[in-house]
């Protein structure tokens, strides 16, 4: 558009200004929500790290919170449980999702129906699925013990609770990872498989020599998503076992939730300042794990 006269140019300028205002107004609501819901809470957290804050009054306590954290065995244990849970979940969910994706990708009948079923748990609220599994795992009248006709205390024995929690996590999440792998495999050219076939590769060889290496960029992203999401899970555990028995299935973010909002079982005052410190520490732990993973996966890259 070329304006040759002065009138045209002012019209153009005015139009430009209106467009700028419109663009600002269109971006405005999202930015406002970003500020309120993400940026503000993030800095709010730092404000109370060194305070004793119960929701009404705040006292500066210096490094009291930090000293308390160092001696807080429940929190230290919950860090361990978080790592334990994340390890179980990732070790089960990634191989399972990959295997299922490979099977679904082999072109058998009914693929889309299987995919529909396997993805289904991911649309159910983790709070409701936690509740459903608490019925399934119930000791005296749960359906699982009914079927195997035993009385295994899945949710009330320290030896079994992690298994129950992991089963729920895998059930609720593997459909997502399966889908990532299928999408990744769709990106592998059929010619490569053709060539492998001509060279006489069998199914196992094809998987390890073709599918897996060609899928490695996707696998890397998926593993990172799996790690970050496993470390921040707590909703389902909160409903399924409440972190119990004892603190056996207490993960970091569930422990923190109880500090900040109080728990359903013991009505104590919220300890928000201490919770803020632990939130910060937990976020740093997750960040370090993610960075470590990125470093390792890069190292592996240069080796292969």
């Amino acid at each position: 558009m070329i304006y040759t006269n002065v009138q045209g140019r002012t019209r153009h300028d005015r139009m430009g200004r209106i467009n700028t205002i419109q663009a600002a107004l269109m971006l405005g609501p999202a930015v406002l929500l970003l500020i309120i819901c993400s940026i503000y809470p993030f800095f709010w957290m730092f404000r109370y790290i060194l305070y004793d804050y119960n929701g009404f009054t705040a006292h500066f306590t210096g490094i009291q919170n930090i000293i308390r954290m160092i001696h807080d065995t429940s929190f230290l244990e919950s860090i361990g449980h978080t790592f334990e849970y994340a390890a179980y979940k990732i070790m089960c969910i990634i191989p399972a999702a990959l295997l299922i994706a490979v099977l679904l990708h082999s072109g058998i009948a009914g693929t889309s129906i299987f995919r529909l079923v396997y993805f289904l748990p991911t649309v159910i609220s983790s709070s409701i699925s936690g509740m459903i599994f608490s019925f399934i795992f119930a000791t005296s009248n749960g359906i699982l013990n009914g079927i195997i006709s035993r009385q295994i205390p899945w949710l009330t024995s320290p030896d079994h609770v992690m298994m129950a929690v992991t089963v729920l996590a895998v059930w609720g999440g593997f459909g997502n990872y399966m889908l990532y792998f299928i999408t990744g495999m769709n990106g592998i050219s059929a010619d490569v498989y053709e060539a492998a076939k001509i060279d006489g590769a069998n199914t196992t060889q094809t998987f390890f020599r073709i599918t897996l290496p060609m899928l490695s960029p996707v696998l890397k992203v998926v593993l990172m998503l799996a790690i970050t999401s496993a470390f921040k899970d707590y909703e389902a555990i909160m409903v399924l076992s409440g972190g119990g028995p004892g603190n056996r299935s207490m993960v970091m973010f569930l422990y923190i939730y109880h500090l900040i909002f109080g728990s359903a079982y013991n009505v104590t005052q919220p300890q928000i300042g201490y919770g803020a410190l632990l939130s910060c520490v937990s976020a740093i732990i997750v960040g370090c794990v993610t960075l470590l993973y990125l470093k390792i996966s890069k190292k592996l890259d240069s080796v292969v």
């Binding site: 819901c37 940026i39 809470p41 957290m45 396997y118 159910i124 019925f135 399934i136 498989y193 998926v222």
Partner: protein, 288 residues
């Protein structure tokens, strides 16, 4: 799947059958919890408390639903769930498509910084502490008396993914369309509304469904905001409150019915529009 590989489609029939059997067993296991809760919701209280291996109820007690709906307040919970889900959906659709369009089509100082901040906060996770300041903010502004606060904050916490999807999708729309609309006298917003929005239909469907699911399934946020107000609780919170309350052990049939009411509508929506759910879930992670 249409892209069958030559190598694999020549698999012998026996092997194919074995895989199908394996996958079918797995499918039954995956769907079992849903079937169990649905059929269990028709059992009598005694039958549920006794337990056992039977999945089918001996007699179908449809009155469980009547009781849940009338006495246990599930009519209110369901209404709240619908309200939250629809509210989050509308806000997410409006805000994220507009923001995605601006990010894709304009250039201004600080654009990358703002976009980067959106993406950064997708990865920073400090857990439930971030709900506390929002709760106090809502209390101070008296927004905690209605579900508007829950809807706003839920939309705000989920929007980054949708903006990311929207920006990516608008990037694939040829810029020539914008130019043509501009020459025809459309303003920036006019171009978006008349030209881009109609093209974005698949994206709009994806964001609508993902955000509806997000709102419907929201738990911690409404749990905190409705701690003292039973009338505002959505299904996710209402059902779980029954479980935690003192007489929870006694009302298993109500909890089963409640969980079914919370799960089945979402499953129906999912089955009708599964394509969009799956596209939306992978688009962000793998293709990006």
């Amino acid at each position: 799947m249409d892209k069958r590989h030559e190598v694999l489609s020549s698999m012998d029939k026996a092997r194919q059958a074995a895989i199908i059997v394996l996958l079918s067993i797995l499918a039954v296991l995956v769907i079992f919890p849903v079937v169990y809760i649905t059929l269990g919701s028709f059992k009598s209280r005694t039958e549920l408390l006794v337990g056992g291996a039977k999945i089918l109820p001996s007699v179908f007690h449809f009155e469980n639903y009547v009781n849940a709906w009338q006495q246990a307040n599930f009519a209110v919970y369901t209404g709240n769930s619908v309200l939250i889900a629809c509210g989050v959906m509308v806000l997410s659709l409006l805000f994220s498509t507009m923001a995605g369009y601006v990010f894709s089509r304009t250039n201004f100082v600080g654009k990358n910084l703002i976009y980067g901040t959106f993406i950064m906060f997708m990865f920073i996770n400090v857990g439930s502490i971030s709900i506390r300041p929002l709760f106090e903010l809502a209390t101070r502004t008296h927004m905690n008396k209605s579900l508007i606060s829950v809807i706003l904050f839920s939309a705000g916490m989920g929007q980054a993914t949708y903006i990311f999807l929207a920006r990516g999708y608008v990037n694939t729309v040829p810029k020539e369309l914008d130019e043509a609309a501009k020459i025809d006298g459309c303003s920036f917003f006019g171009t978006f509304w008349r030209i881009i929005v109609p093209i974005l239909q698949p994206l709009i469907a994806t964001i609508a469904l993902l955000s509806f699911r997000q709102g419907w399934n929201e738990y911690i946020l409404p749990l905190v905001f409705t701690m003292t107000n039973d009338k505002m609780r959505p299904l996710t919170v209402g059902v779980n409150m029954l479980k935690n309350s003192g007489d929870g052990a006694a009302s298993w049939e109500i909890m089963f019915a409640g969980a079914t009411i919370a799960v089945i509508p979402m499953i129906i929506v999912y089955i009708l529009f599964s394509k969009y759910f799956m596209n939306g879930s992978t688009a962000g992670a793998v293709k990006g």
